[in-house]
C-alpha cells in the first residue's frame, strides 16, 4: 500500500474515521444490488471542508473516490468499482435548518430519509420521497440516485423536491447551486446533479421542499382473482384520470410470501392485490374512494377493503415496504429489477414477465409501483451458483429490453449504476453518449469520481478511464 494516503487521511480525520484493513473494508463491498466492488479505504468525514480535503488528497495520490450513504442502493451506485477511497456520509447526518413557514429543510447528506419526516411532522410537514428503505436510506443517496417510492405517483421523485445543493467537485472546490426558493438564475444545475449518481460531484448539503400533510388519507386494498384484472384496473384508473397518491401491486406469489411473514391481512388465495392510497381534503378523498372502488368492481375485484384506522393502514404498508425482507426467507438472494413501461401497457408487460420467468426457469414475483408503470420484478436465486446467477442476469436483461421495446425506460428509480451501464445503448445513441460524455468530462474530467458507472465500459469514445488501484491494496481485485 502506498502508506502516504492512509497516513494523511488519518492525520486529517483521526484514525477512528479511516478504515483500510481488508476485514473492515469488506463490509463496504456490497449495497442492496447484486453487484460487488470493494474500496481500499473507507473514510467518515464530519464536514464539507473535510470532504473537500479528502478529495484533494485522493487527487494527489491519483485514487478514485465514491460517495456512499447507507448502502441501500439497488444498482451498485455506491460501490467502489475500481477500488479507491469511499466517503461514507454517515456522520454528516444533521438537519441544519427546518424552515416551516417556507416549507424548506437544509440537511447534510447522511440524514436518514425517515428522520427528516419525523423532524418535520410537528409542523404538519413531511419529506415526500419515500423509498421502501426510507427508515435507513439517506437523503444524499436519494439525491444521487433520484430515488422514488410509492407516493411519488402523486408527488414526484426526489428531484421534484430538491431546490439547492452544495457540491464538492473533484478538485476539492466547494460550490453551491440552486436556491432555497427553487428558482434558478441560469441553467438548472440542481436538476442536472440530482440523479447523476455521484459521477459529476459529491453532494455535501441539500435543500429540500417539505410537503404539507394532507387532511385525509384513505388506504384501500383491492383483491383480485387474476393478475390481468388487477392490471386492467390500474390502466383504467389512470385512463379515467383518477390520481391516487400511491397505487401498488403485489402478485399472488409475492403476497403469500409477505403475508406469511408480516401478517398484513393479504388474502392467501388471491392472484393479486392493489394497495391504493388517496389523499387530500376529506371531501375529495371520499369521492376518490368511491371512484376507485367503482373501477375495481368493474374489473371483477373480489373485494375492496378500506383501512378503518391508522393501525390497519400501517400494517398494509408494512406488508408492502418490508416485502423484500420477507422474500429473503425464500432464497439465499433476490434480484430486484427496476424497469418502466407506459402505463397503458401494464397487462401485457406482466404477461411477458411471467413468460420470461417460465423460459428461464425462475419464479418471478412482482411487487411494484403500478400507478406509474414502474415494475419491480423479483428473481430469487442462489449467488453461490455462478451459472444460476448468470441466468438470472440474462432473464433480467430480457425484461429490461422488453420495457425499452414497448417505449419504456431502463430504470425508474434505482439508477443505472454498475448494474445497467451495459444496457444503456438500448436507449441512447452514440451522439447521446458523446454529449453525456462531454458533460461528464466538464465536471469530472479524470473520472476520479465514481468511475465505471452509468456509461457502458465498452463504449468507444474515450470512455470512463478507470484509474489504477493504490499499490498493494489492489490485491483483492
Amino acid at each position: 500500500m502506498n502508506p502516504g494516503i492512509v497516513d494523511e487521511l488519518e492525520k486529517l480525520l483521526g484514525s477512528s474515521s479511516v478504515l483500510y484493513q481488508p476485514e473492515d473494508t469488506l463490509l463496504y463491498e456490497f449495497d442492496g444490488s447484486v453487484e460487488k466492488g470493494r474500496p481500499d479505504i473507507v473514510v467518515f468525514p464530519e464536514s464539507t471542508e473535510k470532504v473537500s480535503e479528502i478529495v484533494k488528497l485522493a487527487a494527489k495520490y491519483n485514487v478514485p473516490i465514491v460517495g456512499r450513504g447507507a448502502g441501500t442502493g439497488l444498482s451498485g451506485g455506491a460501490l467502489a468499482r475500481t477500488g479507491g477511497v469511499m466517503i461514507v456520509f454517515a456522520r454528516m447526518n444533521r438537519i441544519l435548518e427546518l424552515d416551516a413557514e417556507n416549507q424548506r429543510a437544509v440537511v447534510q447528506p447522511g440524514v436518514v430519509n425517515y428522520e427528516l419526516t419525523r423532524a418535520a411532522e410537528p409542523h404538519g410537514l413531511y419529506f415526500a420521497p419515500d423509498p421502501s428503505s426510507w427508515k435507513s436510506c439517506t437523503i444524499g443517496g436519494n439525491v444521487a440516485e433520484n430515488a422514488g417510492g410509492p407516493h411519488t405517483l402523486a408527488y414526484g421523485v426526489t428531484t421534484n423536491h430538491v431546490t439547492a445543493l452544495e457540491l464538492v467537485l473533484p478538485d476539492g472546490e466547494i460550490v453551491r447551486v440552486g436556491s432555497k426558493d427553487g428558482h434558478t438564475l441560469g441553467y438548472d444545475l440542481t436538476g442536472l446533479f440530482v440523479g447523476s449518481e455521484g459521477t459529476l460531484a459529491l453532494i455535501s448539503e441539500i435543500t429540500v421542499k417539505l410537503s404539507r400533510k394532507p387532511e385525509a388519507v384513505k388506504t384501500l386494498l383491492a383483491i383480485f382473482d387474476t393478475v390481468d384484472d388487477a392490471a386492467d384496473t390500474v390502466v383504467d384508473i389512470t385512463a379515467r384520470a383518477i390520481t391516487p397518491s400511491a397505487c401498488e401491486m403485489l402478485d399472488g406469489w409475492t403476497l403469500r410470501t409477505v403475508e406469511d411473514y408480516i401478517h398484513a391481512g393479504f388474502p392467501m388465495d388471491s392472484a393479486a392485490v392493489l394497495l391504493i392510497e388517496v389523499e387530500g381534503l376529506t371531501e375529495a378523498a371520499s369521492e376518490q374512494v368511491s371512484a376507485i372502488t367503482e373501477v375495481c368492481n368493474a374489473h371483477h375485484a373480489r373485494e375492496v377493503r378500506v383501512a378503518s384506522d391508522n393501525a390497519e393502514r400501517d400494517l398494509l404498508w408494512k406488508g408492502r415496504k418490508n416485502a423484500f425482507g420477507a422474500l429473503g426467507r425464500m432464497a439465499p438472494s433476490n434480484y430486484v429489477l427496476d424497469g418502466v413501461i407506459p402505463r397503458s401497457k401494464l397487462p401485457q408487460a406482466l404477461r411477458r414477465i411471467q413468460q420470461i420467468g417460465e423460459q428461464s426457469g425462475f419464479p418471478i414475483g412482482n411487487i411494484f409501483h403500478a400507478g406509474d408503470g414502474n415494475l419491480h420484478p423479483i428473481i430469487l436465486y442462489d449467488p453461490r451458483d455462478a451459472a444460476q446467477f448468470e441466468r438470472a442476469r440474462e432473464a433480467a436483461a430480457h425484461i429490461i429490453r422488453y420495457c425499452v421495446e414497448v417505449g419504456g425506460a431502463l430504470t425508474g428509480e434505482h439508477g443505472v449504476g454498475m448494474e445497467k451501464s451495459e444496457l444503456m445503448p438500448l436507449l441512447f445513441s452514440d451522439a447521446d453518449f458523446d454529449l453525456m460524455r462531454r458533460i461528464h468530462d466538464a465536471f469530472n474530467p479524470d473520472s476520479s469520481l465514481n468511475p465505471g458507472k452509468i456509461f457502458p465500459l465498452n463504449k468507444g469514445c474515450g470512455e470512463i478511464r478507470v484509474r489504477k488501484h493504490v499499490g498493494a491494496i489492489a490485491v483483492h481485485l
Binding site: N102, G186, G195, P342
Partner: protein, 479 residues
C-alpha cells in the same frame, strides 16, 4: 446583401429549400432580437434539417438564435452575434400521444393553444397558462422558462417535462429522458433546456406527462386595503389543507390595470365549463366586483361540488378572519375575465407601456411583505408608476411602467435596477430584468451579479455548444 451573406443564403437554401429561407431585410426584421436583425431566417421542416443547419453554422462560425412565434425573444441580454434566425414553427406535429398513459411527445414548434385543444378532447391538458398563450409555441415556452399561475398546484415545467430531443452545438441530434413518467436513465439534460434561451441546444421535440383537466372550477378574490392582509390570508391558505390551483397577490396598480384594460391577444377557453364561443374574442371587461384600488388575493380551485363548497366555505372564513374588505367567488362566466388577465399579466404590461422594465424576483414567501414595500419605495423615489403580481407564493413580477425610454429616464432607471437586485439578494432571493428596452439593457446586465455557480454554467455551455453557435451573449454571465 453582401456577397458573403448571399453565399450563405445559398447554402441555407440547399439545406431547407429556397422557399424556407428569408434574406430580404424586411422579412428578417420581425426576427430582430434587441434591435439586431439577422442576415437570414431559415425554417427547417424536420430535425435532420435543424442538425444540418447547425453543422453549417458551426463550420462557418455563424451565430444562430432559435425561435417560435417570437413573443419572448426580448428576454436576456442583447446577443453579441446573430446571423441566422432558426424558425422552428414548421416543426409542429404531435409525435405521439397516449391518453391512457397521460404522456405526450410534441414537436417544438407546436402552438401551445392548439396542443391543449387536442388534449382537451381527452379531458387532459398541460398546465401552462403562460402569457401570449394564443401565440406561444411549446418550444418557446420551455426555452424561455416562462411560468404560469398554475405552478402553485402543478409545479413548473421541470416537474412534468419527461424528455427532449434536440440538436447540440456540433449539429448532432441527441435526446435525454424518455416517454414514461418515471425515469432515471442517464443525465436529466432536458431540465437544463428549461429557461436556457436557446444557448445550449435547438429543441426539436418535447415529451410531457399530461394532466386531467379540472372538471369544475371556481375563482376566489379577496380585497385588502394593505399588502399585509393579502400576505396573511395567503399564509393561512398555504398552511391549511386547501390546495388551490393558483394563488396570486395582485398589487392595487395592477388591479387598476385589470379593471380598465383587456389583453390584446384573443381569449382561449382553458377549462371545462368555460365559454368556447369566447375563444376567438378578446376578454370581456372585468366585473365591478374587483376593488381596483386595493390589494387582491386571487385563488382558483377545482373539484366535485362537495369540494368546491368546502373551498368556498373555508376561503370565506379565512378571508373574514384576515379582515378582507370584500370577497367574491367567481363562476365559469366571471372567472375567465380575471384569470385571462392573470395569465396575460406580462403581455398586458408590455402592451400598456411598451418601454416597461419587468423584473422577475424569486424569493421565499416569508420575505414578500418586506419586498413589496421595498419595491414600492424604489418606484416612488424615482417617481415611476409600477404594478406587480406575486405568483404561487414564490415569484414576483414587478413592472416599472414606462411608455417610452429616453436618456433622461435611462439615467433614473440605473439606480432602481441596482437597488432591486441588491435588496432581492439581501433577502436570499434572486432578481433578473426579464423585459426591458434594448437601450436600457445595453447599459446594464439583466442578470444581476453572477453567482458562484457561473463557472459550472460555462462548462456546461462548452459541453453542449463547444463553438458558441447558439444565442451568444444573451445568457447569464455573457454566455
Amino acid at each position: 446583401m453582401t456577397t458573403t451573406s448571399a453565399n450563405f443564403a445559398a447554402n441555407l437554401e440547399s439545406i431547407v429549400g429556397a422557399s424556407r429561407v428569408l434574406t430580404d431585410p424586411a422579412s428578417c426584421a420581425p426576427y430582430a432580437v434587441d434591435e439586431k436583425i439577422p442576415a437570414a431566417v431559415a425554417k427547417p421542416a424536420n430535425a435532420e434539417e435543424v442538425a444540418e443547419l447547425i453543422r453549417f453554422a458551426a463550420l462557418e462560425k455563424l451565430a444562430v438564435i432559435p425561435c417560435g412565434n417570437r413573443t419572448k425573444l426580448g428576454i436576456g441580454m442583447p446577443p453579441s452575434r446573430y446571423n441566422i434566425a432558426l424558425d422552428i414553427t414548421t416543426l409542429n406535429r404531435i409525435a405521439h400521444y397516449d391518453p391512457g398513459d397521460l404522456t405526450l411527445g410534441v414537436d417544438a414548434g407546436m402552438p401551445l393553444a392548439k396542443l391543449n385543444a387536442a388534449l382537451f378532447e381527452h379531458n387532459q391538458f398541460l398546465p401552462l397558462l403562460v402569457p401570449w398563450y394564443s401565440r406561444s409555441t411549446i418550444g418557446g415556452t420551455i426555452a424561455s422558462g416562462i411560468d404560469s399561475p398554475l405552478r402553485q398546484f402543478y409545479g413548473t415545467t421541470r416537474d412534468f417535462l419527461i424528455g427532449a430531443e434536440f440538436a447540440d452545438g456540433t449539429g448532432k441530434l441527441c435526446k435525454s429522458g424518455g416517454r414514461v413518467v418515471k425515469n432515471v436513465s442517464g443525465y436529466d439534460l432536458h431540465k437544463l433546456l428549461i429557461g436556457s434561451l436557446g444557448t445550449l441546444a435547438i429543441i426539436t421535440r418535447l415529451n410531457f406527462r399530461t394532466f386531467p383537466s379540472p372538471l369544475a372550477s371556481r375563482g376566489f378574490v379577496a380585497s385588502f386595503p394593505n399588502a399585509e392582509g393579502a400576505v396573511t390570508l395567503r399564509r393561512v391558505i398555504t398552511e391549511s389543507p386547501l390546495t388551490p390551483l393558483t394563488l396570486d397577490i395582485v398589487s392595487p396598480e395592477l388591479a387598476q390595470l385589470f379593471a380598465t384594460r383587456a389583453p390584446a391577444t384573443p381569449e382561449v377557453a382553458v377549462f371545462a365549463g368555460e365559454n368556447q364561443a369566447l375563444a376567438s374574442k378578446s376578454l370581456p371587461p372585468i366585473g365591478n366586483w374587483i376593488r381596483s384600488n386595493e390589494w387582491q388575493l386571487c385563488a382558483a380551485f377545482a373539484g366535485t361540488p362537495e369540494v368546491l363548497a368546502r373551498y368556498e366555505r373555508d376561503l370565506m372564513r379565512f378571508a373574514a378572519n384576515s379582515n378582507a374588505t370584500s370577497t367574491n367567488v367567481l363562476d365559469d362566466t366571471t372567472r375567465p375575465t380575471l384569470w385571462g388577465r392573470l395569465r396575460e399579466t406580462l403581455s398586458m404590461l408590455i402592451e400598456f407601456s411598451p418601454a416597461s422594465l419587468i423584473f422577475k424576483i424569486s424569493i421565499l414567501p416569508s420575505h414578500h411583505a418586506a419586498v413589496f414595500a421595498s419595491l414600492r419605495k424604489v418606484a416612488a423615489d424615482a417617481s415611476l408608476p409600477h404594478a406587480f403580481v406575486a405568483r404561487a407564493s414564490s415569484t414576483i413580477y414587478f413592472a416599472l411602467l414606462l411608455a417610452a425610454s429616453d436618456e433622461d429616464t435611462s439615467a433614473r432607471l440605473s439606480p432602481c435596477i441596482a437597488q432591486i437586485f441588491d435588496f432581492s439578494s439581501a433577502s436570499g432571493g434572486r432578481a433578473s430584468l426579464l423585459f426591458a428596452p434594448a437601450s436600457i439593457k445595453r447599459g446594464t446586465t439583466v442578470w444581476g451579479s453572477p453567482g458562484s455557480d457561473l463557472a459550472l454554467m460555462r462548462r456546461l455551455k462548452s459541453a453542449f455548444d463547444p463553438q458558441n453557435v447558439f444565442s451568444p451573449g444573451r445568457f447569464v454571465g455573457g454566455i
